[in-house]
């Protein structure tokens, strides 16, 4: 079927290419000319503007947004609103906060537009392996997009599904990412312990490879850890600095709002914050307190 893809960054371009390979006609728009050119080379029909993109699509239209969460989604929606017609559908495939998604769905509904939110997992591997899609929205709107989801997913009947009304897709993706933080941190701690045990001289990549087959901890994140360790066994040159992109924070906030204890997901987020604190005031105060009560020497900055 026909689809407009707005945003031709790494994720958007890959998804569009997977759809083209699957026999769909995809028109793509990105504000960057280079992104449009690269997309064209991958079989995506480039549009020079949102107007062109909308004009290229038969009604009822389906427009997929793959733009950064937050203000860019709102800006794109505001620009699209006057261009679209009742009955068209807008899909937000990014990592929007589910409350924003609910708010936007209400606004789009006022204009007779359908909203679908697709929490999308799979990263840069999705082009080849397919994406896991957690979808929110009205049944009929989701159903109309079935051909798209069946192509994006790893297999037509697997790895995608409508999980609930508008917002439910992004909600599920948010929790997915919260879990992801916990899983990653568990592996990271385990490998750190193994690596510190000098007496055994353990080979972390070998252990990751052993675990990939038959062990209780086998997973895709372990596969990736094995690859990372194969390329760079001691992770030389990589700074111990870990970004977070929002969903972990929202998951913690949501757990607290719901009165659900989530100590491990929360601790995983705290560790990421901690990784970026190079001069922790808390630690300095701890050192100062120890000096006050016990006369314990304080290490000087730079020691």
């Amino acid at each position: 079927m026909d689809l407009g893809m707005v945003g031709l960054g790494r994720m958007g371009a890959n998804m569009a290419e997977r759809l083209v390979r699957g026999g769909h006609r995809v028109t793509g728009y990105d504000p960057g000319a280079a992104a449009r050119e690269q997309a064209a080379a991958r079989g995506i029909a480039p549009a020079a503007s949102l107007q062109e993109l909308v004009a290229a699509l038969p009604a009822p239209r389906a427009v997929w947004l793959m733009v950064p969460a937050g203000a860019p989604v709102d800006a794109t929606l505001e620009a699209l609103l006057p261009l679209l017609s009742p009955g068209d559908t807008v899909i937000d495939g990014g990592n929007s906060n589910y409350k924003d998604t609910q708010r936007r769905a209400a606004r789009l509904a006022e204009h007779g537009l359908h909203s679908v939110d697709s929490g999308t997992s799979g990263g840069i591997w999705g082009l080849k392996e397919g994406y896991s899609l957690m979808i929110g929205g009205e049944d009929a709107a989701v159903e109309r997009l079935r051909p798209i989801f069946e192509t994006l997913a790893p297999a037509p009947e697997r790895g995608w599904g409508r999980v609930g009304p508008s917002g439910a897709g992004h909600y599920t993706k948010m929790v997915h990412n919260g879990i992801e933080y916990g899983l990653m941190q568990a592996y990271a701690e385990g490998f750190a312990i193994l690596g510190r045990k000098a007496e055994f001289g353990l080979d972390l990549e070998q252990i990751a490879q052993i675990w990939r087959h038959g062990s209780v901890v086998r997973s895709w994140l372990l596969d990736l850890s094995a690859e990372a360790l194969a390329k760079n066994p001691r992770l030389d040159g990589i700074a111990p600095y870990v970004e977070d992109s929002g969903e972990g924070r929202w998951t913690v906030a949501e757990a607290i709002d719901l009165d659900v204890s989530a100590p491990v997901i929360t601790a995983s987020l705290m560790e990421r914050l901690r990784s970026r604190e190079k001069d922790s005031f808390a630690d300095k105060l701890l050192a100062a307190m120890r000096n006050e009560f016990g006369g314990h020497a304080v290490r000087k900055q730079g020691d």
Copy 2:
């Protein structure tokens, strides 16, 4: 090749059967007559005593222990010691503490015996899917057992390996289980958050199934979660009570000994302890303190 298997419980009998299916001759001993009979029905030659087991094996012998960690391993080793001959090998395939393993290896070496420790993961699925084996011991001793490991593992060249000297196998398995605690807790928290979000009416099994394909959090533990949720979507009748079997505790102790911060593995252990505290003194004291300073009402036991 020939192998003696001591301990024909769930794990021991399954491993022996996988070896028999793979063409090995396995003689099995268990103190329970019923266990021996069932083993015989699965193609394992039963021995009525350790003497019989040792007598049935050609020298140099290989005897695999699959008995509960701790005192049972020591008792079995003491009973075996007078029966074995220099050049024989004893494999401990259970979840022994690596320090015990190192101590036992030294004692066996005094008698000219070889020691191999095999951290074994795979649970009740290992019979069919193969076991992940993390092996410690001298190179030559491990190499002599290659046919055994190649059959137990998911494939001859995958899922097993010698990771270091005596103790290194159990050490690696210990950390494996520490990671496992963290992974499990991350999923458990995530599904708890999803399940508590009444407004979306999410179907947890459906979400687990979606995630199994293409998502960043796909893993074997997720596959198992999906199965558990398929059987019992709300986990009715299951008590919120979580055992632990030692390796998590040891992992935490080891992290601390090595000065490695491991907040998520540690928090996962704490949660298991917490699940078994039905009348937490700490919580009672918190409630009592709030009453003392703020006059906040204390809930009575049974309310």
Copy 3:
């Protein structure tokens, strides 16, 4: 000086009484007739309505709100707005969220009214020992209230201060309570460990008493713990159920917003949530997973 006190619950009535004892004239309003009567018996001039209260105060007026955080504060402010005159000051002495305080201050300013927020600590002991007051607002507005603060505080020059602009008082109180959660949890865990060590038969109250003098952990919360343990050494009959009143949640949200790692304050909040989960889904799923991979028996509900 003259002060109007709106809200004659435990905190409001105590604070008003402390002011009366200190020589101030306090007019008090509460929607409950019983509360008004009790206040009258304590030297507080009762007002039957907000109109009466405002009418009883000389301009420029000072009206202190001691009502539950959230909607009640907004409702009270809306009712007061038409009654007050430019130059009057409203003090919010409750546990309002600092963002609400900032919003309200802007609204009051539109009407020429001054706002002061007083984070108030001390609980039911404040009547006798004085309150610790963290104050936000314009300098001049705070300064005009100096006689009030000097009487409410433990001593005229101690235990109170203007910490910043509107909202800063409630912000500081919010963090104060976050710290309080952490302190309480640390003591609770420590006493739980002591109490579980059967071999020593430790007397927890005695230990609390010893620590109160000369130890590094001496504190007011320890004093209160000693009192609680003196009354009820094993805390019999107290349910292990711990409420929270919002500031802990806000502190965690604020830490995350500011990218400050706060693992202990966060864990303390999680423990309170956990104390109220009597049938944790997370724990049930952990038990179910263990059953799936290892065949470990699941405890039945009610066992």
Copy 4:
């Protein structure tokens, strides 16, 4: 009464001086000549050797050890054993592990010697304010030392007590320190949040001073924090590096041994370990994983 003090470091010399000021006769030994000279200047009779120290004491003797925990205590005890006589008492006032204390008490009992363990809190302030003493040992042995404890404590009847048999004193001190870690971390996190809130420009020392009077979080550690912040408001030049001296680790191990969940004490320990990890392997692996699955840029070491 007469007391021998072995170890004239900061703690030992201060305790000896407090005893001398209280009218006791203290003979002190330290391997360092300078320490002995300084002690002499403070009214402590110096002994040039353990032999001299023992010879200077009337039987039954009381010898207080204030030497570093671990091997130094064992070495000192072995050196003292042949010099002492049945009926003499040895007090270990340091931070020994309670299991070592139990082992040593059994060994001393074989020689007819009494053992007393005194968990000692108060740090460098104890000389002036008195020490909090948690005492283990037989009743009669503790009772004989009553004059010593009454002088060391903040007041004769307060701040000290026999809490149980040998080891119970050090056990109680161990948990005391575990709590201390949690309290310190709670304050440290709270002040870090306050300090990061740029919009309010909060003065941390002022806030600490306000809280010291009337607030729920008032404590001695807060008093010390206020002093540290008064001297150095932004803690300039202090490295964010926090040592630990063992009792926190033991408290965590003990909690786990007793199946008591202690998430906050544990997290506090983890934070100290974390403060000393300047190139965390776990964080590097997290960054590498994010790069593998999402193509997220990795920060280079030194960026």
